[in-house]
Each structure stands twice: as C-alpha cells, then as structure tokens.
C-alpha cells in the first residue's frame, strides 16, 4: 500500500497515512466509526521533497497496515510550525472536505498578476499559522509578500490563506450592496474596509481576530494561497457553475 503525507490545516500538522486523499478526507471529517463530522482542509505533500526534513525511519515503522490488513489512517509526524518547515515546491493538490466527508480536489495553477483589479479591496481568511480575518487593499501576491518579507514588525515565515467574496463592497464599501454576504456584523466590515480607503498607507485591517474553524465554501472568491515573500502557490477555486460539473456531490453538499 502506498504512503501519503498531508499537511492539515486544523490543526496545523504533518500527517502520514496509507489512505489516498479522498479516503483521508473522509476519515478526517467523520472518523473511523463515521460518527464525527467536521470540515477539513489539507494539502498533499510530496514525500520525496521532504524526506530530509522528517524522520523517515519512524514513518516507515509506524505507518503500516493494521493487524486486520486495513490501511493505517493517520500517523502524526509533526504538529508545530509545520507550514514553515514544508517547502512550497513540495505542496501538491489541496483538498477540501464537507462535514460528512465529501472531498473536493483543487489543483495548483499559475497565478496571473495581470488579472488583479486595481483599487479593489479584498477579504482574506488566514488559515495558518495565524487565523485572523483580514480586510486589505492588497491583492493576494502583495498581501502575502507584505506579511512574510520582514518589512514590518508583524511578520510570518509563510502564510496559508483564502480569499473570500466581498461583492460590491470590494469597490464601494460604504454603499455597496451586502445583500448576499453572510458575514456577521456587516457594519463592522464596512467600517474596516472604509478605514482602508480613508487612511493613507493603511494596507490591512483585522476584521475578526478568531477563526470559527469553518469556511463557507460558497463564499470563496479566487481561491487558496500559500506563500512566502515572492513565492506563492495558488489553488484556484471554481465558480459554482464549474463546481457543479466538476464535483456534483460537493456542490450539493455546500
């Protein structure tokens, strides 16, 4: 049986498993007895590219089939500063699961800076290693660079985040329609966005300090990003019409 290594988002951990991504997603969400339910986000990691970073002997010894021949579901390899440790080029596809374990695969794609809309505001949910909800005037590439290049006192070695929909608020925070935005306290969000518009040199504003642990998959705008300084991996998120065709089960479940 093959062995896989995954970088899980909540909690941030490096986990080896004998389950392929769909099976691992189902296991993470619903548990062995299928009595659990939880949304999960994880990225498959290229084992070859992190061989030198982990204890391979321990992995090979522990990640073996169970006595009854069934595959080992999870062997935790590391649970602290994992994202920082894993090189960007070792990251393979990203997987999202619903509560009851339906898995959506997102492939890496080149990020096109030319598509960035000038002057538009953005909303980012940071996922690892810190988890605030942040409004920013910076597009994803500039956002990740600013938070990871050490140019400010608040800096991170690497950042995993997702861009969320702002709708009309992206261009008109004060008067734009927020009708279809499910966020709590829209007034506060408008205030945060307006501050970005008003204050000179203010690039980002924390909207919410704590992440609830659950993403509303229908509110994802462009997709997921993992980056450090000028390097960034982009996982584009399909439109709902595309998603309906790509993965009907997932589309129906969200």
């Amino acid at each position: 049986m093959d062995k896989y290594v995954y970088l899980t988002c909540t909690p941030e951990a490096l986990v080896a498993s004998m389950l392929p991504p769909e099976g691992f997603g189902l296991y993470l969400s619903t548990g062995t007895k299928k009595r659990n339910k939880a949304q999960t986000i994880f990225i498959e990691v290229d084992l070859e590219k992190i061989k030198d970073l982990i204890d391979m002997e321990s992995l090979n010894r522990r990640c073996v089939a169970k006595e009854d021949g069934s595959p080992k579901s999870s062997v935790y390899l590391s649970v602290y500063r994992v994202l920082e440790m894993v090189p960007l080029d070792a990251l393979k596809s990203l997987y999202l699961t619903t509560d009851h374990g339906v898995v959506l695969k997102l492939k890496k794609a080149p990020y096109d800076k030319a598509k960035e809309v000038k002057g538009a505001l953005h909303l980012y949910q940071e996922l690892n290693p810190v988890t605030p909800l942040v409004a920013s005037e910076l597009p994803p590439s500039a956002f990740v660079k600013r938070l990871t290049d050490g140019s400010t006192p608040i800096t991170l070695p690497k950042l995993f985040f997702v861009e969320l929909k702002l709708g009309e608020l992206a261009t008109n925070p004060l008067y734009g329609s927020a009708e279809h935005l499910p966020y709590q306290n829209i007034g506060h969000l408008r205030d945060c966005l307006e501050i970005l518009r008003g204050e000179y040199e203010k690039h980002m504003k924390t909207v919410q300090r704590v992440f609830s642990g659950e993403l509303l998959y229908r509110t994802i705008e462009s997709g997921f990003y993992v980056g450090a300084k000028d390097d960034m991996v982009f996982y584009p998120y399909p439109s709902m019409a595309e998603l309906e065709n790509i993965n009907y089960e997932f589309f129906r479940a969200i």
Binding site: K34, T219, R252
Partner: protein, 763 residues
C-alpha cells in the same frame, strides 16, 4: 325519466378507471432499475401499505360507530335510512382511491428514477402518468359512486309505485307515500349528498393522519440524521429516511387525493341538490339542473384523459419546457371545458348565467393557484424577502414568514369573494337567490371539472420527490439526480397550484354545502310538519305548513314549506348577525379553525418526539450504522410514525364531527349557520396563511441553499432552517387539514340537519 345523455356520466367514470388501469399497467411495464433501487422502493412501498392498513383499521372502527349512530337516528325518523349505507360507500371509495394512488406512486418512484436516467422527458412521462392514475381513480370512483346511487335511487327505489304507496323496510321509511316527481329529485339528491360525509370523514383521517406521519418522519430524519449525525438528505444510513419517503406518499398522494375526492364529490352533489330544489322548476328542466353538474364533470374526465396525452416534450427538454408541457395539459383541458360548457348553454342544458358562473370558478382556481405560486416561489420577492431576513436571525425569519403568509391571503380572499359574487350574479342576476347559489355550486364544479389532470400534476410531485430520494440512496450518477431534481422542482410548482385549487374549491364547496344545508332544513321541516297533528310547524313567527293553511295571529306569517324561500327561513330562524346565537356560532366556527390547527400541530410535535428518540436509539445501539455496515431498522421508524399518527389523529378528527353535532343540538339552525360561516371564513384565511407561510419558509431555505447569503452552514441558513421547521406542520399538517375541516363541518351539519331541526334546544 333519465335523459339518455346521462349515460355519459357512468361511461366517463368507467373510462377514467379504464385509463387509470392502462396507465398503471404501462407504469408497471417500465424497467425497475438496479437491485438497490428495487430494494429501496420496496421498503417505501411496504411502509406506505403498512401505514394505510393501520389507518384503515382505525377508520373502520370510527365508521362503524358513526354508522350505528346514523342508523339509530334513522330509527327515530330524523335521518334518512339510506344515509348509513351512502356514508359507507363514500368512505369506501375515498379509501380505495387512497390505496390505489399510494400503490401506484410507490411502484412509480424507482421506475421514474430509472426512466430519468435515459431522459428528462421519459422521467416526466412515467411520473405524470403514474400521477394520472391517482387523478383518474379519484374522478372515476367519485363519479361512478354518484352515478350508481342516482341510477339505483331513481330507477329502483323511487319507482312510481313506491312514490304512490311508500316504501318501508324493517320499520324504516325509505320512500314516503305520495311523493311527487318534483319531491323525488329533491329526496334523491338530498340522500346522495350525505355520501359526501363518508368521503369527508375518510379525507379528514387521511389528511390529519398523513400530515402527522409525514412531519414526524421528516423532523426525525432531519433533526437527528442531518443535524446531529451530519449525514445528508436521503442517506440510507438514516433510519428515518424511508419513513420520510413514505410520508411524502401518505401526505401528498393519499391525503391530497382524499381531500380533492371529497371536494369533487361534494361540489357535484351539493350543486345537484341545489338544482333539484330550484323553485318553480319541474320535469325535464329540474332533471337537467340535477344532471348538468354530473355531465360537466363527466366531460371533464374525457378532457383530462386527453390532457394527459397532451403532455409531451422533446427528449432534450429543459425544465421550463417541461412546465410549459404540463401547463398545456392542464390549461388545454380547462380551455376545452369552457367550450363544452358553452355548447351546453347553447343547447339549453344550462343557462348562459351558469356558464358564466363556471367560468368564474375556473378563473378563481387559476388565480388562487398563481397567487400561491407567487407568494411561495423563491423566484419572487416575498420568499426572497424571508431569505434576506435570515441574515438578521431566526426571529426575523419567523416574523417575515408569518407576515408573508398573512399578506398572501388577500389575493385568494378577494378572488373567492369576486368568484362567489360573479357566480351568484351571473347565474341568479342578483335577484334569484336559488339560481344564484346554484351558480356558486357550478363555480366549484367548473373549477374541479378537470380534476383528473390537475390531480395528476399534483400527485406527480411526490412521485418525482421519491424518485429523487431513490436516485440519491441508490447513488445514481449526477445526471440522473439533476433530472430528478428538475422533476422535483416542477412538482413543487404544480403542488402550489394544486394547493390553490384545493383551498379554493373547498371554500366554494363549503358555501354550496351551506346553501344545500338550508334545503335539508326545508326537507326535515316538511317531514316534521307531516307528523305534526296540527299540520304546521312554528319557527319564530313563521308557521310552515304543507297542506292546510293554518290560522295566523298578529305578527305571524304562514308559509308553504315547498315554496318557502331562504328569506323565509332566515326570518323564521332569525338568521341575522344580531341574533346572539348565530353570532356565537360564528365565534365557535372561527375558534374551531384555530383549535384544530393547534391540536394537529401539537400532535406533530409529540409524534416527532417519539421518532427522534427512536432514531437516536438506532444510531446509538446499531453497530456500524454510520459506517454503512450495520443496517438501520427502517420498519421501526415507519411503525413509530404510523402509531403516532393513528393515536394523535383521533382527537382533532373527532372534534370536527362532534362540535357541529353539539352546536346543532344546542344552538339549532342559527348556531349551525354561524358555525359554518365562522369556520369557513376563518378556516379559509387561516389555511391559506398556513400553507403559504410554510411554503415560503421552505423555499427561502432552498434559496439560501442555492448559494445566496452564504449557502448551507451559514448563519442565514441556520435561521432559515428554523423557519422551515416551524413551517413544516403549517403547510403539511394543519393547513391542508383545514380544507377538510370546513367541508366536514358543513357535511356533518347537512347530514344531521334532521336532528338539528327536530331536537335543538335553543335555536
């Protein structure tokens, strides 16, 4: 002498049954799908049949008690001796329709799903023609029962010999000696009208029991399966999922079928009774007035059959094209019935005024259906407004949903008022009361004349819904589930229209029955006069007599019973709002609608509680249930829902029978008239509000689930789920059952008119 054209009535009824059988055979000949599909369909079928068996065993006991009661009343001479038998046949045929409709629907779900795997159109054809079985057995048996009773009473009982010398058996008088030709038809239609009580009683149990069953199963499946265990809709691991699918059939197929069977039969019978009692109408004209509603319904059956065949689309049809095809079937049949009515008016079978009344009825049905669709569809502002309020939380969802439901009542109320006034005015010219109310009856007949196809499109909904469930549980490919979803969506639209027809026809039928009630009062007063040694009966200041004019004192009036107008009865019984007894009846009628709704809602809560406990137990105790290796005990959940429905339906159902009886005995005719007026007006408005609030809450949730306001799991979604849960018993239990309550109260009053006239304490 029955006109030869009458034979269209039994022939059409038999044709309806023949085509129902053909559609049933064709449906059975379709491929059943995979083994898994067959297995799931079998679970649902067994559950549905087990439920029906239990329901019928309870209903039979109630029927036996009522038959004994009616027979005792007949021995006391205050009930027609045919009534116990007529009551039984009405109930029997209604129950038979429910059984056949459910049997067909539960055979059709997996076949529809499998047909949908080939094309959307094939799925539509199987679902619609299976729904047509229900539609056609309802109109077929309804009209056959009416035709058979008419033929038996007219040809075998009210023979010239029996009419001259009377006919008695076991001490019961079936035909009074000296019955005239004019009285014959009044007697026949009055007896036939009472068979509607059997249908009403059966319908009430089907609606209340079915409503409790379906919601108990639904809440159990959702609350424990979806919310607690986190498994999706229609997941086979959920023990209540089969009960939930059974519930769709029990509530929406058998319940709706029984409801409309009752309206269909009630409207024809009440109109026939009103036609027979038209003053100064005798001989052929009287016979035509009696037969005309039956004839229109018979031709409506033929057009309904044609309508089913009109529904065709291309293999690559879009959902919009499917809806157009369905509308062509229902709209085409309705348009053709207008042509038929015009021909009948041209041939002097009905007046042009009655034609206008029927047009008013049809138009009212369409407008109420469209208004229901407007207020409950998520493509329109009212429902989207509820979804928008979900952003604030569940409290505002409830407020907005209640407000939408309440405001949605204005269109149906204005429509029905306009329909009633138009029908009354067209037929009676605002001066001839008897002809006017005959027109109101005809408006109901016109509305329901193409019930065969209307009910087919209605029963199509739960069949498509079950097909979706079957496809989901059988894990059929995405394309199939998309198609069954499209059929289900189409079913929701037709169901909204069907509900509009159901409540609209209930209001018109109840009004016709109220008018027919006065004819029953006339009939029983006449009998009392015959028995009275003084030869008259004094009601208030009016002396009703039959043969000898009584001496009157100052302030008194003597009126011949056969020529007495409604105004005479109104004056005699003081049928005015200033009579506290009548006003008291109005209040009691209004209260009944609320009390009945409350009882049925509470019943859902209690039955659902038992279901929740059972589903939790199974999740806790059955090893491997969540892994899919342990098999849930589906039958246990069906049994719990069945038991819950049976035990909980009795009390609310019985008060619908007992209260009119008690009001009749205590408050007499004014009390009954008040009760019926209060019950009808409040019940109609409350039912519309409950149906539309519930429908709008349901679709507001679906609107959010389609991705608006964050989609599933968002806070607005959670708020909308609360609204949907509140709305479930509104739209599927209490609201639909109110249709029947208003008709059953009228029917009980009609049947017990003799008791009221003879024994009332105050009125």
């Amino acid at each position: 002498m029955i006109s030869s054209i009458f034979w269209i009535v039994p022939v059409s009824a038999l044709l309806a049954l023949l085509f129902a059988w053909i559609f049933y055979r064709n449906m059975k000949a379709q491929e059943e799908g995979t083994d898994r599909m067959k297995e799931i369909a079998a679970y649902v079928r067994e559950g549905a049949m087990a439920y029906l068996r239990r329901q019928y065993s309870v209903v039979i006991k109630v029927f036996l008690i009522l038959v004994v009661l009616l027979t005792v009343l007949a021995y006391f001479g205050i009930q027609n001796p045919f009534v116990p038998v007529a009551f039984l046949t009405g109930g029997f045929f209604s129950g038979l329709c429910g059984y056949l409709g459910m049997k067909t629907a539960t055979f059709a779900s997996n076949r529809t799903a499998w047909a949908a795997s080939k094309s959307l159109n094939k799925g539509l054809q199987v679902a619609l023609r299976s729904g047509a079985v229900m539609g056609l057995v309802v109109v077929g048996f309804g009209l056959l029962d009416i035709a058979l009773w008419f033929l038996i009473l007219n040809g075998l009982v009210f023979t010239p010999d029996n009419m001259a010398n009377g006919m008695s058996f076991l001490g019961l008088t079936f035909v009074h000696p000296g019955t005239t030709e004019h009285e014959k038809l009044i007697e026949i239609t009055a007896v036939m009208l009472t068979f509607g009580m059997g249908a009403s009683t059966q319908a009430l149990f089907a609606r209340v029991g079915g409503g409790i069953f379906t919601k108990a199963a639904d809440v159990g499946a959702d609350l424990v399966g979806k919310v607690e265990a986190g498994i999706p809709e229609d997941d086979p691991r959920n023990p209540a999922t089969i009960a939930d699918n059974v519930g769709d059939n029990v509530g929406d197929v058998a319940g709706m079928g029984a409801d409309l069977y009752e309206s269909y039969a009630g409207s024809i019978l009440a109109t026939a009774a009103l036609g027979a009692a038209l003053p100064a109408v005798t001989g052929d004209i009287q016979m035509k007035a009696v037969i005309a509603p039956m004839l229109v319904s018979a031709i409506g059956i033929l057009l309904s059959i044609a309508g089913v065949y009109m529904v065709r689309t291309k293999e690559s049809a879009t959902p919009k094209a499917l809806l157009r095809a369905l509308l062509l079937g229902t709209g085409g049949s309705s348009a053709l019935i207008l042509v038929v009515l015009a021909v009948m008016a041209g041939l002097d079978w009905i007046t042009w005024g009655v034609f206008g009344a029927a047009v008013a009825g049809l138009a009212a049905g369409v407008i109420i259906g469209q208004s229901t669709e407007y207020y409950t569809s998520d493509g329109n502002k009212p429902t989207q407004g509820i979804a928008k309020q979900a952003v604030q939380g569940p409290a505002t969802v409830i407020i907005e949903g209640m407000a939408v439901g309440m405001s949605s009542t204005w269109v149906p109320v204005v429509t029905i008022v306009a329909g009633i006034i138009a029908a009354y005015g067209f037929a009676g010219g605002f001066s001839n009361f008897a002809m006017g109310v005959y027109g109101i009856g005809f408006a109901a007949v016109g509305m329901l004349s193409t019930l065969g196809i209307t009910l087919a499109t209605d029963a199509f909904g739960p069949i498509a819904d079950n097909a979706g469930g079957n496809a989901e549980m059988s894990e059929l490919p995405k394309e199939v589930r998309e198609r069954t979803d499209a059929l289900d969506g189409l079913g929701n639209t037709t169901a909204a229209t069907g509900k509009g027809f159901a409540i609209g026809s209930a209001a018109l039928t109840a009004l016709a029955l109220m008018a027919a009630y006065m004819e029953e009062v006339r009939l029983w007063l006449g009998r009392l006069i015959d028995k009275a040694p003084e030869g008259f009966k004094q009601i208030g200041d009016t002396l009703f007599y039959n043969s000898t004019v009584p001496a009157v004192q100052d302030g008194q009036t003597a009126v011949h019973i056969t020529t007495a107008s409604v105004r005479d009865f109104a004056a005699a019984y003081d049928l005015s709002l200033f009579n506290p007894i009548l006003l008291g009846g109005v209040f009691i009628g209004g209260m009944m609608a609320f009390l009945f709704s409350s009882m049925s809602m509470k019943a859902v809560g209690r039955a659902a509680g038992k279901m929740v406990d059972e589903v939790r137990r199974q999740f806790r105790e059955i090893p491997g249930i969540m892994e899919g290796t342990g098999k849930p005990e589906y039958a246990k959940c069906v049994e719990i829902s069945t038991k819950g429905a049976q035990s909980e339906m009795l009390v609310p159902s019985m008060i619908a029978i007992v209260v009119p009886l008690a009001v009749g005995v205590i408050f007499g005719v004014p009390g009954v008239i008040g009760l019926l007026a209060g019950g009808m007006s409040t019940g109609f408005v409350l039912a519309t509000m409950l149906n539309n609030s519930g429908g709008a809450w349901d679709n507001a949730k679906k609107y959010i689930e389609r991705g608006n306001y964050g989609g599933k799991k968002s806070e607005p979604h959670k708020a909308s789920v609360v609204g949907d849960t509140v709305g479930d018993p509104f739209k599927d239990t209490s609201g639909p059952a109110l249709n029947i309550l208003i008709k059953l109260m009228s029917m009980v009053s009609v049947v017990l008119a003799g008791l009221t006239v003879a024994w009332s304490i105050l009125g």
